[in-house]
């Protein structure tokens, strides 16, 4: 067997494993989310199918596969079918690049499917591809509400993409490399980036909530306004594929946050004093970090109400975008003019900015929609 074939086979095997893992995580994510949401709302949640509802994802899968697959008459059939596939494909591909452990730690192989020097940019590009799925799905449905929902959703994702990209820039300047593994290694040497880029982390967190269409920003699914957004005409397995894409995006966002800001697959180094080598165990820390962020996603969903569309856009463009831009400029300024200054000062300043932002965060003053003076008869 030639060398290249072997490498190819291993990559295909790893890709299959990642896909399977993500799909299982997605399935059980729905269950965990429903259970946790239920408990936060003081209910029981689904606990009928199997022990404590553990077979619920299976039942859901069987149900959504055997449901009638409706293709509406006005739909553009090809695009209508393609849209969910694009969504899932983009979501799965984006995750494949994220390293889950140090090189050679997965039975002698590298625990990532492929490794690119433009890692971060690739992830951003792939997650943006997901917009095509949503937008085309909304357009191809051939009816009004999906179109509006798809437009909203793509506008939202494009707006928050800016904030997301800008909040990563400061980090990239610090590390000086876009390869995800270099970023993790830099963090292992210098400390997690959250310490130096807390402001960037806050903006990144918020924009990743918007990017994954999760609760405070889940406008495409605003039932009151748009039925089910771009999902309206979708049913059966195609609907499930869109859901799958959403959840996988969520997992990717969690993995990205863990990798970029929280040291990735490396555990905290001080634990090495207790159990030697624990901080470089593969998968364990990575999965723990992802789980923590997924819990945060669910927790926020249980708490926050949905933003109005204009509020969403205003927040994205008028608050998040300038702050992310400011962070980029500030980090650039600091690194350019004080190349020898210690990084912890940067971290302190960033923390100060976060505190300032929090201190000045208040409900916007009630807007006066009409300044017309009351006239007789009003």
């Amino acid at each position: 067997m030639p060398e290249w074939l072997l490498v190819l086979l291993i990559v295909v095997l790893k890709a299959t494993l990642v896909s399977l893992g993500l799909l299982t995580t997605f399935a059980y994510m729905t269950l965990v989310e429903r259970r946790l949401l239920a408990r936060m709302q003081i209910r029981h949640g689904p606990n009928r199918v199997g022990f404590q509802g553990l077979l619920q994802p299976l039942a859901d899968a069987v149900k959504s596969i055997f449901k009638e697959d409706i293709i509406v008459k006005n739909a553009d059939k090809l695009v209508f079918l393609l849209a969910p596939v694009i969504s899932v494909m983009a979501a799965l591909t984006a995750f494949a690049i994220i390293p889950a452990g140090p090189a050679g730690s997965f039975f002698g192989e590298d625990p990532w499917v492929f490794d690119l020097d433009v890692g971060v940019l690739f992830v951003l590009a792939m997650t943006s591809m997901g917009v095509y799925g949503i937008f085309l799905g909304g357009w191809a449905s051939g009816s009004k509400y999906p179109l509006l929902g798809g437009l909203r959703s793509s506008a939202q994702m494009i707006s928050y993409e800016l904030g997301m990209g800008l909040s990563i820039l400061g980090l990239l300047m610090l590390v000086g490399d876009t390869n995800l593994r270099s970023i993790v290694e830099w963090q292992a040497a210098n400390g997690a980036i959250i310490i130096f880029q807390s402001l960037a982390f806050v903006t990144f967190l918020i924009s990743s909530f918007a990017e994954t269409n999760r609760t405070p920003f889940d406008l495409p699914e605003a039932e009151q306004e748009l039925v089910a957004g771009y999902l309206t005409e979708y049913s059966s397995i195609k609907w499930a594929l869109f859901q799958m894409a959403e959840y996988i995006n969520m997992i990717t966002a969690s993995a990205l946050m863990a990798t970029l800001f929280f040291g990735g697959y490396k555990g905290p180094a001080f634990l090495d004093a207790i159990i030697p080598g624990i901080s470089s165990w593969p998968f364990v820390w990575f999965i723990l970090k992802i789980a923590a962020f997924l819990f945060l996603f669910i927790w926020v969903r249980a708490t926050l109400p949905r933003l109005r569309y204009d509020q969403l856009q205003r927040f994205g463009w008028k608050i998040l975008f300038p702050i992310a831009l400011f962070n980029t400029m500030f980090t650039a300024f600091y690194l350019a003019f004080f190349p020898n200054a210690p990084l912890w000062i940067l971290g302190l300043l960033e923390l100060g900015f976060v505190a300032l932002w929090l201190a000045f965060s208040s409900r916007p003053a009630k807007e006066v929609l009409s300044t017309r003076a009351p006239m007789g008869g009003d």
Binding site: L36, A38, R39, M40, Q41, I42, R43, H44, N47, W299, V300, A302, T303, L304, L358, A359, S361, S362, R363
Partner: protein, 183 residues
């Protein structure tokens, strides 16, 4: 500082995560009904004599907004009366599919014969089975038609999925006690 408000909200949801759910796993755990729950009707009897309270006046049928009640009265045999009055209800039927459980019949009844009880598990398969006759509603009958059918089939006691907390302070009525009196 509206972020603090968000944090407060997040704290509340997190604390609820560790609270015992207020809902119950219904068929396994009995549902806790309120004392004034309006369920399936019960036709009561007089204490002591055990005669039926219903005198077949059809006022309940007249009061019923859903036209769910059908009463056919007959003369009492003075030697062996069914009810203490002149007449009694020979046929007393309520269509549980039409009934809206509003309790108007209970209010209209001059003798307090028809009372809304606690049972609510009446799901069944056939339309005809939802018409409850006297034998299905007379006091002492445990369970709805399908429940009794099932109990008979498996030779078990009727299993009911609810509990009622008795609150005698309401109108001074002992709900369970007044119902358990039977001939």
């Amino acid at each position: 500082m509206s972020v603090l408000e968000i944090a407060k909200g997040m704290g509340i949801t997190l604390s609820k995560l560790f609270q015992k759910p207020v809902t119950i796993s219904y068929p396994e755990q009995p549902a806790q009904l309120k004392p004034r729950f309006r369920g399936r009707h019960v036709l009561t009897r007089h204490t002591g004599t055990g005669l039926e309270k219903c005198i077949g006046c059809s006022l309940c049928a007249a009061a019923c907004p859903a036209y769910a009640i059908y009463v056919e009265a007959a003369e009492n045999d003075p030697r062996d009366p069914v009810s203490p009055g002149e007449r009694y209800a020979k046929v007393y039927e309520i269509n549980m599919l039409r009934c809206i459980f509003c309790g108007m019949c209970e209010e209209a009844c001059p003798t307090g014969a028809v009372v809304l009880g606690n049972e609510f598990e009446m799901a069944d398969y056939r339309y005809g089975d939802f018409v409850y006759g006297k034998q299905d509603m007379l006091v002492g009958t445990q369970g709805s038609k399908p429940q009794r059918r099932e109990a008979k089939k498996y030779k078990k006691a009727v299993k009911m999925g609810f509990q009622v907390t008795v609150r005698p302070e309401l109108e001074g009525v002992k709900y369970l006690a007044s119902r358990e009196v039977s001939s």
